[in-house]
Symmetry: C2
Subunit: 343 residues, 2 copies
DNA sequence: ATGAAAGCGCTAACAA
DNA sequence: TTGTTAGCGCTTTCAT
């Protein structure tokens, strides 16, 4: 009788043992009954289950995780959760894994290496069975670090090298956006190009530039500005471009929120978005329709649920297939024709 | 030698024991060294730490949780994470607790009792040390269920009865919105009133109605429609009102996203939001400025970080004080004067 | 079909 | 200051 610092079981939580004692059986039997293992028809099973329920028994995942070395949880790493696109993917992941008896633990990493490692380590310390990585960086440092962690992981939204990933065809998406602006007759086009480390945004930018080049429209570097995922960063980037090029007639932003942020800067320069300057965003988050924003629809929920299922497959030992989904242009009022051609 | 199903330690994860063996000390010593307990000056400490680091040792939270009965994690229950207001609060919580050596585990409950219980149970099975509840319902069922779970918890954003809560003064916020519309000269005002079970939205609605009544402006029930937190629900609610009252000149929506959703319905009826009809939202999420939405600013980050600190205090055994923060009106282009008075 | 025994990795008591 | 001992609650052999 040492180790007495948990002195009394006050109300204390209900353990397997307590249920077993009251049921007059061995804890092992209760464990089996509760998990539906072995003896289904025995009337004991329902008796034990009822008792457990009545006592308010709740399994202790810390204990079962320790014993089985499986936590029944997966980790999800995102750059920011205030990016609705990420939140949408996360909710799809969460729903999918919960249906399958898992839990999804998220962490926002701020899209930076130290945050990524720190947060991934925290998740790993909780012994997550796998990782869904939505904040991959093209420079391989993060990914090769992940490679060494001994846990199955899968990229979502962004791909890195040829590692398993569930993404959409961002290059195509960029082409759809650029093609649309070219069709409308725009020639002085600006790009809010996202982050250089994100395959998603760099591909969208590249796709857009490629199609514009095919149409004979060139975009000098001075009309391209990087940005983050939030409106404020879009505003600032747009502002920088307008300083140099007050005469642009269209903007493609690789994210809906940056697109909306850009509209602030345009208005500050006396330009009416959707009348004087066309704007195209990316993702088609739930707010885009309300803002009349032309955008490229990304199948975010599908991406999340496929990624979740794929990771769970990997956890179960199967090998993963990468998946590439297809985006789609959604035309709304924000993409007007250039002023000269307006009527 | 029973229990042999973990057959070999392949690469296998590094345990305290391994570090101890290689350091030539007892596991207890390593544990103490790593946690900075007891023997700071001993040169052993740095030696052990270096070794642990070199071996890539990572603590196993499942084991320490089991042993100490503390998980160093708190649970956060939100209605939806795609509501940027909730995501903003969550990120503030997350940051605050991580700085203090904790982890925040979120769950979206869908704002319904079964989801709330199910997700809370999952969190409790992970032995979270406390719960931050951002999806409280006024009818006390959820809250009284929480009372019985034997874990400290704190309401955020919504209050229930006189339970400890960190909220903003929603009644005042509603007054600010209503007062603003009255000042502009509006008389036919519609309300998107949120959910009856949320103290936040009901108080905002009540505050607005109160100030309008003081100004002699009455709002018949047929101009008030409940709604959820997403744009689509705002659109649908607005549509229902417009069917009955195509002549309204202003709308107060208790959430920015519903406000933006409402603008879709207005346009579908040939009304220009911000020109023909004034719109006021609530929260001032990051997107509101870009959409030129007049709104009531809720100190979301502050709410999150105060709530997190307060809960951690409760976990440490201190008693919690409820906190009420103050909202603030932010006037933007969406709140125009009524057409008759336009010039 | 059920029980006995052992141990997952860690840390709190106690002893030295 | 360090080591010994025991056990958190669970599940997996193995034995009955």
């Amino acid at each position: 009788m040492h180790d007495r610092e948990p002195p009394a079981p006050p109300p204390g939580r209900v353990t397997l043992r307590m249920v077993a004692d009251l049921a007059g059986v061995h804890p092992t039997t209760v464990s089996r009954a509760l998990r539906g293992e072995a003896n289904p028809r025995s009337e004991n099973v329902t008796r034990i289950r009822d008792l457990a329920e009545k006592l308010g028994y709740r399994p202790d995942f810390a204990a079962s995780t320790l014993r089985t070395r499986r936590s029944n949880a997966i980790g999800v790493l995102v750059p920011y959760l205030t990016d609705v696109a990420m939140a949408t993917i996360y909710e799809a992941i969460d729903q999918t894994v919960v249906e399958r008896g898992y839990q999804a633990l998220v962490a926002s990493t701020g899209d930076q290496l130290d945050g990524q490692k720190r947060r991934a380590e925290l998740l790993l310390s909780r012994r997550v069975d796998g990782l869904l990585v939505a904040d991959g960086h093209l420079d391989g440092r993060y990914a090769s670090w992940l490679d060494q962690q001994g846990v199955p992981y899968l990229m979502v939204m962004r791909k890195v090298g040829d590692r398993a990933a569930v993404v959409a065809d961002d290059h195509l998406g960029g082409r759809l956006a650029g093609g649309h602006l070219a069709d409308l007759g725009h020639e002085r086009i600006a790009l809010l190009s996202g982050r250089a480390w994100s395959s998603a945004t760099t591909q969208r930018t590249a796709g857009c530039l490629a199609v514009l080049a095919e149409r004979g429209i060139s975009v000098p570097e001075s009309r391209i500005e990087p940005c983050s995922l939030d409106p404020e960063s879009g505003r600032a980037a747009m502002e920088r471009i307008l300083q140099r090029h007050p005469d642009i007639t269209a903007v493609f932003a690789v994210n809906d929120f940056t697109a909306l942020g850009a509209s602030i800067a345009l208005r500050e320069h006396g330009l009416r978005p959707g009348d004087d300057v066309a704007i195209v965003g990316y993702n088609d988050v739930h707010i885009a329709a309300a803002c009349e924003l032309t955008t490229v629809r990304n199948p975010l929920k599908l991406m999340g649920s496929i990624a979740a299922r794929t990771l769970l497959d990997m956890v179960a030992g199967r090998t993963a297939e990468s998946v590439t989904l297809t985006p789609e242009l959604v035309v709304r009022a924000s993409s007007c024709r250039p002023p000269a051609l307006s009527h």
